[in-house]
């Protein structure tokens, strides 16, 4: 539909501190079109999570403009599905009830959609399980299904697989790609894992810290599913990594100077 489904324009975010204001984000410009999967990568303290919070509507003390489908973002809503590093499920609800949350499972359309989503996130057979019976990866898939049930205009994922082991993480990345391809949801994923950023992103946004800003945006022109071992993947990875090293360079120097 719109070329600028999500538009971030001239966003600055300053955290006031007694020892001088900390500029978390400086002059951020980002355009995401509908159905795109964009990954944001950068070292800790580069403001990538702050940017995601602003888009989610969880942080409103910023300067600049953030538009989702033409309307400014004023607070959290089901338009913006948010996935945190921890799944944040309701421990007293079963998988299916967690996905439905405040929507009644008795309603046939909700029931049907929940069943579809359970299929989509590969949790068939675990509908009646409680969160304590799930592994980390399974719980995170429940959280994704919960967000997708609300048909969000954009799904924001803040290091969603950071707490998982390498094998589960690789599997979850494939599951997420599958969901994205089947559902066509616009996704913005923050990560500190270079492989993850290149494996998932149609575009990779590289950010650098102090002050947090975008240093480059790389288009990853590889067809899905990508092969991590292929030479073209390795080439893309190298290109992004070189961007990353440009970013890291001065930081390391500054650190060594102290």
């Amino acid at each position: 539909m719109s070329q600028e489904w999500l538009l971030v324009q001239g966003v600055n975010r300053v955290f006031p501190a007694p020892s001088g204001d900390i500029v978390a984000l400086r002059n951020i410009d980002l355009r995401v079109s509908e159905g795109q999967l964009v990954t944001i990568i950068g070292p800790s303290g580069c403001g990538k999570s702050t940017l995601l919070k602003i888009i989610a509507g969880l942080d409103t003390s910023y300067e600049g403009q953030v538009l989702l489908n033409g309307t400014p973002i004023t607070g959290p809503s089901i338009e913006k599905g948010v996935i945190f590093q921890e799944p944040r499920l309701f421990p007293w609800l079963t998988v299916e009830k967690n996905i439905a949350a405040n929507l009644p499972l008795r309603r046939p359309d909700v029931r049907q959609r929940v069943d579809e989503l359970i299929e989509l996130v590969r949790l068939k057979g675990f509908e009646k399980a409680y969160p304590r019976e799930l592994s980390g990866g399974m719980a995170q898939r429940v959280a994704i299904a919960r967000a997708l049930l609300r048909n969000p205009a954009v799904l924001l994922l803040d290091e969603p697989f950071g707490a998982l082991d390498a094998f589960t993480r690789a599997h979850m990345q494939e599951v997420l790609l599958d969901i994205w391809q089947q559902n066509g949801t616009t996704m913005l994923l923050v990560t500190h894992d270079l492989d993850e950023a290149v494996f998932l992103g149609e575009r990779v946004v590289v950010m650098n810290p102090r002050p947090g800003q975008i240093s480059s945006i790389q288009t990853i022109d590889l067809p899905f599913p990508r092969k991590r071992t292929s030479s073209s993947f390795q080439e893309m990875r190298r290109i992004v990594l070189s961007e990353f090293e440009k970013v890291e360079g001065p930081v390391v120097d500054a650190g060594a100077g102290i």
């Binding site: 989610a56 969880l58 959290p76 809503s77 089901i78 913006k80 599905g81 948010v82 945190f84 921890e86 944040r88 309701f90 421990p91 007293w92 609800l93 949350a101 405040n102 409680y130 969160p131 304590r132 919960r146 609300r150």
Partner: protein
């Protein structure tokens, strides 16, 4: 190092044996284990009494107490006292516990209510039953009202404190989720705060019922012509120690019974809880 090794070797062996031979009767083993201590005490007690080591007026033997229990049950006296006592305890608990729940919810939901009400309630909480009882009797007379109110006063506070605490201990991160999913205010209460507070609500319920029984004894001993507390007090007056024991045992049995019922309910409703269930130390 050596110590650690032997220790683990010892603990590993019996575990395996139990697992192989009598896994099904683990429940039975547990019951037998819990009976071990009381049964030993009873045997020693009975033996000492039969050997004439105990003064029968101060400490009658278990056999005598059992006989007294059978007599009191046959005459219907015990049941009549028990009925009136249970009724008082129930009424007082429902009144006090209900108000405690309501106040706990209100103060838990609103920090303004907390500032307004909580300090005063905390002050009232420390008032002992025996200090308030004479006042209640002055105000409401010797009839049922003062007794039920005294029980209610006791039952109120555990329910109030734990409900309040339960609501305030709901995981803050889940509130972010509820906000992002656009829970209504009503949904926030019924789908997040209440279920989140449930473990504490049950704790409050159990403590509240326990305190209701305690308050009952005080109320019935202060002045009454019926109930288990009266039975005990009356028997003490005439030095019929066996009846005192029967009264105490009935209190203990009923207290334990009600507590077990709540625990059963708790286990069913808190199935989702992922907490430490105790190790084999």
């Amino acid at each position: 190092m050596q110590q650690v090794e032997t220790r683990s070797a010892i603990s590993a062996k019996p575990k395996k044996q139990i697992g192989r031979s009598i896994r099904l009767s683990l429940r039975t083993v547990n019951v037998l284990l819990s009976l071990l201590l009381p049964v030993t005490v009873l045997i020693v007690w009975q033996g000492a009494g039969m050997l004439g080591l105990l003064n029968p007026t101060l400490l009658p033997t278990p056999a005598v107490i059992l006989q007294e229990f059978i007599d009191l049950t046959r005459s219907g006296e015990l049941l009549a006292h028990l009925r009136i006592s249970s009724w008082r305890a129930l009424l007082g608990f429902l009144l006090g516990g209900g108000l405690g729940l309501a106040a706990g919810l209100w103060v838990g939901f609103s920090y303004k209510a907390e500032r307004l009400v909580d300090p005063s309630l905390q002050m009232l909480r420390t008032l002992p039953h025996l200090a308030v009882a004479p006042l209640f009797i002055l105000w409401f007379g010797f009839d049922e009202t003062s007794k039920v109110l005294l029980i209610a006063k006791g039952a109120f506070f555990p329910m109030y404190v734990n409900t309040f605490l339960g609501i305030r201990s709901v995981d803050n991160k889940l509130f972010d989720v509820a906000e992002a999913l656009q829970f209504s205010r009503w949904q926030l209460m019924t789908k997040l705060m209440l279920p989140g507070a449930l473990p504490n609500l049950f704790l409050g319920l159990r403590l509240s019922i326990g305190v209701a029984w305690l308050g009952l004894v005080v109320a019935e001993m202060m002045g009454s012509s019926s109930g288990i507390g009266y039975l005990i007090n009356d028997a003490r007056y005439f030095s019929i120690t066996s009846v005192v024991f029967v009264g105490i045992l009935v209190f203990a049995a009923f207290g334990k019974l009600t507590d077990s019922l709540v625990k059963l309910l708790e286990r069913r409703m808190l199935r989702w809880q992922d907490s430490y269930k105790g190790g084999d130390l």
